[in-house]
Symmetry: C2
Subunit: 406 residues, 2 copies
């Protein structure tokens, strides 16, 4: 926790029992907006991600990225004194967030009913892969498992080949943000009604939420429309998708009213009024021909960026497909803070994604830092529970509390 920590959510306190990605994204959104987030890590090793991306000085860059402005308390959750300590913290917290396998919180005596006996208006947010209910609820879950069940995986790749998976935590991050919204809404509700809430947020549901047309088109057409992956181009407008250029790829959105602009860029005004290409439906019916025509034109450019420049002159919506390495250097992403630099006291300086919410009153990146394992054992237990130094030392000696160097 840094300095005054004044931001949108100052004054809110979260007991963060999450690990890995979806849960920590949720609580980090709170921490980055100034909430006091107490990250509970299981002794002796802490969050499993402390072993990932140890790129310098034994410090996990993964942990840093997900733990900015959080406080770390490292507790043996298999020791009754550890669980008792957690129960003592609950009355001081507005919300508890967890992403254990469904049932684990109950096993620890920390299900919603139990938490409510500790604080009547507590908010509990349970994050899981496939949900707290339903026949698949107890299946072991990862992002890509929820993605496969959601039908999203089936929409990526060529129709006659096995699908691809995006190598990024799209579902985990989106789910974490869904959960953050749910908790913030429950805080607004609590202010009005005095009541707490149990929130159930699942990766499966959050992935499914992304089907903007697929589900209603399938069911609304009585099954006649069967949504399926269709390569590098959209299946309901044309042209729109990824196009090859020498040395790279560009995204071009040249449908509807953008088609005449694209024709102008290509120097093919003859195509604007041509009956074969008059509407998106006409162009869709000849999609491979339209794509070949555009890629044939693009083949004449020396490189990707000169093609993008030409398209921009004509107002055609377009973008270079940037590699991750290119994004880090891009002037727009740097100026905007989409790429941010963190200066970690142990690992030094490197880049991570910026906070995706900008406010008019507060800086997006106030120089937050991430905690070492159990760094805030003493301060949290001292401040909130009035534990004295002897009690803490005794718990430490017994391995109920653990502190690490990184």
């Amino acid at each position: 926790m840094n300095g005054t920590n004044e931001h949108l959510l100052s004054g809110v306190r979260i007991l963060d029992m999450t690990r890995a990605l979806a849960g920590p994204t949720c609580t980090r959104m709170f921490a980055e907006l100034g909430a006091d987030v107490i990250k509970v890590e299981p002794a002796p090793d802490g969050d499993m991600v402390r072993s990932i991306s140890k790129l310098r000085n034994e410090r996990s860059f993964y942990l840093i990225q997900q733990s900015l402005n959080k406080r770390s308390v490292c507790v043996n959750l298999r020791d009754p004194r550890g669980l008792s300590l957690l129960r003592d913290l609950v009355p001081h917290c507005d919300a508890v967030v967890e992403n254990f396998k469904p049932g684990v919180m109950a096993d620890m005596g920390l299900d919603f009913d139990a938490l409510r006996t500790l604080r009547k208006d507590i908010i509990l947010c349970s994050i899981s892969a496939l949900g707290q209910s339903g026949p698949l609820a107890t299946k072991p879950g990862y992002d890509y498992i929820a993605q496969a069940y959601s039908g999203i995986t089936s929409m990526i790749g060529d129709a006659d080949e096995a699908p691809y998976i995006p190598l990024a935590g799209i579902g985990d991050v989106s789910t974490g943000v869904h959960a953050a919204f749910a908790i913030a809404a429950a805080l607004v509700h609590r202010a009005r009604t005095g009541r707490g809430q149990h929130l159930d947020v699942a990766l499966l549901d959050c992935y499914y939420h992304c089907h903007e047309v697929n589900v209603h088109q399938h069911t609304g057409s009585g099954g006649k429309i069967d949504p399926m992956r269709a390569g590098r181009h959209l299946s309901y407008i044309c042209p729109a998708g990824v196009f090859r250029v020498p040395g790279g790829n560009v995204v071009i959105m040249g449908f509807m009213h953008h088609w005449p602009d694209l024709c102008a860029a290509m120097g093919r005004q003859d195509l604007v009024g041509h009956p074969d290409y008059a509407t998106d439906a006409d162009r869709l019916a000849r999609r491979s021909e339209v794509v070949s025509l555009i890629e044939g034109w693009l083949a004449g450019f020396p490189d990707r960026d000169s093609a993008v420049s030409k398209l921009e002159v004509h107002g055609v919506p377009c973008a270079p497909v940037l590699s991750v390495a290119e994004t880090v250097q891009h002037p727009h992403l740097r100026e905007r803070g989409t790429v941010r630099t963190v200066n970690d006291r142990i690992a030094g300086s490197f880049e991570i994604p910026g906070m995706p919410i900008r406010t008019s009153d507060y800086p997006a990146h106030p120089g937050y830092s991430a905690p070492a394992l159990g760094e805030h054992n003493t301060s949290v237990l001292g401040e909130l529970l009035d534990y004295d130094a002897d009690t803490i030392a005794s718990l430490r000696a017994d391995g109920v509390l653990v502190e690490g160097d990184v």
Copy 2:
């Protein structure tokens, strides 16, 4: 708006000037949690999505999915009386949400400073493709353009081929939820401080937010790690990805402590302690061999689901890659409400994704309906602005207010 509308966000009122997908997702999250969302649609045709997915009775299924529990007011925004009416509504609203191209709100005299003169503590949330600031801010933006600039597109497909795009609104939906969280946090902040806020949420930033390891691994390794799409399998653990089975595909997560379970499922206990496959690093070094070995085993199953059953018996995290058509029928998704049925008074019954936030106090799907164009002109202007029937009739006669059948 339905019945008592009692839910988490009852009592909150949103002036919703958004169209298409990212903005309407944000305001729908509020509407589904009981807020009074006044959807402002430009006369004469309304939100552009009213022309998409008109599958029955001229009704847009797209509009229905994104407008549940919203009220529609259809106003000519090029008429001073239309803009004046909007200004009159602002003091009655807690937040204004818009996803115009940056600059358009100012052109209408509705930028943050102007809104603050109408209501001192107003919250304005501006949603855009590439952000309100930076050299690319004024570029025309679509989901896939932001995705290309974010580096996410570069992480989908085979390394030596052009990338693929997911045929679902992943970025728009995630951005809408980011924006919803931002507004809810600003409401909590306003309750504490009495102050409003201008929020800037962009697809580019929300997509970039999904890089859980790519950005820090590239920069933290001094550029030695160059994240790039790598086919159907994860690039840092193994085996993990999409595997072919007769008649379909399965996702298998067989890394770390799951490897012995996978070996048991395959009847290949000899591989558990084998030095060639002992760790994820060993298996990664032989990734194509490991994938072939697993797909060779899977080829012996009669179909996808029998392979999944076998893997489940051995506790291996796995999933069938479901098509959208299969998700709609799946017992888990139906029981959980991940798939929900809407009964539209004009279009009839069909399925859409469920509300991805479940609460303990309220039903997830209280039978919400979506408005016809301008359906709530009279009720909103009557209730909030005390416009009488003659005034409304006169505005309607002049085309300042428009009402449609669907």
